[in-house]
Amino acid sequence: MKINSQRVRNYLSLAFSYLFLLLIIFIVFVPVLWIFSASLNPGSNLYSSSVSLLPRNYTFDHYKELFTETRFASWYVNSIKVGTGSSLLSIFLVTLTSYAFSRLRFTGRKYGLMVMLILQMFPATMNMVAIYLLLNLAGLLDSHLGLILIYAGGSIPYNTWLMKGYLDTIPRSMEEAAIIDGASQWTILWKIILPLCVPIISVLAIFSFVGPFTDFLMARIVLTTPSKYTLAVGLRDFIADQFSKNFTMFAAGAILAALPITVLYLALQGMLISGLTKGSAKQ
């Protein structure tokens, strides 16, 4: 009798689990399906034909209009450019810095780590006034280079912590053997440490590509010429003024902007998630 009631309880809790999960998945998919259906909806505004969750009639016109009537293609290229540049620069700087903090002993090490942890909490957002003025002084306002430098520079403190956490878990026995064999410190860094770091470097490369690719605020402040906009700034301007008028075109743009990154994240979720959790567990 007792075993039986236990079993019923288990089934009930399992059933509730499924129901709850189903509800959450439904809520997750509502905006996704809706925007997809809006992007295929004939007509440009949403007042005339109310868009439902699943498309009734469909057309690919809005996708075509994006490329013929707007600067969408160049925004896309700009975002890729800024993302790639920031990612490469960030990886270079973070690898060196985290190697030093993990493996080398120097005065000010602990103090430096502490400062990085504090700096990491302050996004460039907070210094927008100063960054605007400094870029203006350096003649880098309204340029992708200025944006890349800010993104890469700002990403160092956090990513250094992440990668240092990973480096700390790599045993030192191989380096010690290499030192006995007379390898220089550069050789150790390039030939031993870097190959072992490929997993975390790929994770960081993706994150520091996606961050700038999707950032709104800094791009908004730095870039003033519409042809230099990145996707986030461009898409927002689409719907900022006359929201409903351009909505279907915005929907098509949103799908195209999100698709590559979403697919990438879902395909590499195992790798990205282990990078996230490993890094934070060490903090």
Binding site: I118, M126, N127, M128, A130, L133, G153, I261, Y265
Partner: protein
């Protein structure tokens, strides 16, 4: 006799060379017989001497921030001044190093030893300097793109840089703590600051609690081995994490539109609810931003908590199963305390992140709905950081914007330092191992 010994000691080489280097860099090294090093220091000495006028001019500029409008550009003077202070710090460092170096090698001479030659010194630098060499690119970048802007905005908080003082037409002046005083003493500013500030705290607390609450619940449910299709369900559930946040937030701002948004459509069809004004009434919009943030943010919390759950060793539960405790008791008395231990620092980080979550607030509804009588264009859902954005871009109130940034800095630095000590003490305790 003793006096003689003392003077001999004072006249010993190490003191003489230190004194020489104190008056002119490099002379001590030359006296020690380190010719190349000595000349390099000497050269540096003359370079510094030659630029004294330049340094003095920049420091003067930093103090006055310019004297004639149109001729002096206060903002540039400010930056040159800050950079010059950096430069002075470096020069002081090298100067002190020069004296200590002379003293050290003088000591070697006094003991009858030969100081190292130039090649050896270089090799020394290569060994001990390797750390700094590796660090230098990263540190330079941090210095230029994080520390310098930080110092710059701290300084602006103490000036009168606003709409009425725009260089080069006008000069900027130092005003001390006036901006801080005004934010707290002018009643309209104080009201707005308290209103926006308290909403920022409420927002950060609730957005952290909701995302971690739902994330925790889902992670625990998915951790049940009897659940089928766990992998597919997890993939479906992390979809909001995979979609770039700016895209989902913009989509949500459409979905919450009163007339054509899908939310009101569904609520109308399924529950026959009249269209809700999600984005035009302050209380409702505040609810909406928290709910949208929940949609965007719970997968991240779920991912982190799943990571922690998988790290809890299974044998901890075995004793409990033998004792015949219920699943709820198992969760309440074993899982939750262990989870809480690793989750607290993550939640503090999440709190700090949401405190400055400009993207969500601004892209969803630009901080609106409009609120009557608020300073600086602060709307009903504006948090401090989006208010700063408006003060900067719409109102040109750079001085107040920087002052408020500084206030946020102090609040968050407190959390950050607390978190650091907490997690480092956690590492020492190693509760889970």
């Amino acid at each position: 006799m003793r006096l003689k010994k003392k003077t001999r000691l004072l006249l010993s080489r190490r003191y003489i060379v230190a004194l020489l280097s104190l008056f002119c860099m490099g002379t001590g090294q030359l006296f020690n017989g380190q010719i190349i090093k000595g000349f390099l220091f000497l050269l540096f000495n003359f370079a510094v001497m030659n630029s004294i006028a330049f340094i003095r001019g920049n420091i003067y500029g930093l103090i006055t921030l310019g004297e004639t409008a149109m001729e002096d550009h206060s903002l540039f003077l400010l930056i040159y001044g800050v950079l010059t202070v950096f430069l002075l710090l470096i020069i002081t460092d090298i100067y002190i190093f020069n004296i200590r170096d002379a003293y050290k090698n003088g000591l070697l001479r006094d003991q009858g030893k030969e100081p190292p030659g130039f090649k050896e010194s270089l090799k020394n630098i290569k060994d001990t300097g390797f750390s700094y060499l590796v660090l230098s690119p990263g540190l330079t970048a941090i210095l230029c793109f994080t520390v310098l802007p930080l110092i710059y905005s701290i300084l602006i908080a103490f000036t009168n840089y606003d709409l009425y003082h725009l260089p080069p037409a006008n000069l900027i002046d130092w005003v001390g703590f006036k901006n801080f005083r005004e934010i707290f003493s002018i009643s309209s500013w104080r009201t707005t600051f308290i209103r926006v500030g308290s909403w920022t705290v409420i927002w950060a607390v609730f957005s952290t609690l909701t995302t971690y609450g739902l994330g925790c619940l889902l992670a625990v449910i998915l951790n049940n081995p009897r659940l089928k299709f766990r992998k597919i369900i997890r993939t479906l559930l992390i979809l909001p994490w995979a979609i770039p946040a700016f895209v989902s937030i913009l989509i949500w701002s459409g979905a919450l539109n009163t007339n054509f948004g899908i939310v009101n459509q569904l609520l109308g069809k399924m529950f026959n609810i009249q269209p809700v004004h999600w984005l035009t009434q302050t209380a409702l919009t505040r609810l909406a931003v928290i709910l949208v943030n929940l949609w965007v943010g719970y997968p991240h919390a779920m991912i982190m908590i799943t990571g922690i759950l998988q790290g809890i060793p299974a044998d901890i539960y075995e004793a409990a199963i033998v004792d015949g405790v219920s699943p709820w008791q198992k969760f309440r008395y074993i899982t939750l305390p262990l989870l809480w231990f690793s989750m607290a620092p993550l939640m503090i980080m999440s709190f700090a992140y949401n405190f400055n979550n400009f993207t969500l607030i601004y892209l969803l509804n630009s901080g609106r709905p409009f609120e009557f009588g608020q300073q600086g264009g602060a709307g009903g859902t504006d948090i401090l950081i989006s208010w700063i954005f408006k003060l900067t871009t719409e109102k040109n109130k750079y001085n107040y914007a920087s002052a408020i940034s500084l206030i946020i800095f102090f609040i968050l630095a407190g959390f950050s330092i607390y978190n650091f000590y907490r997690s480092s003490s956690f590492q020492e305790e190693e509760m889970l191992q």
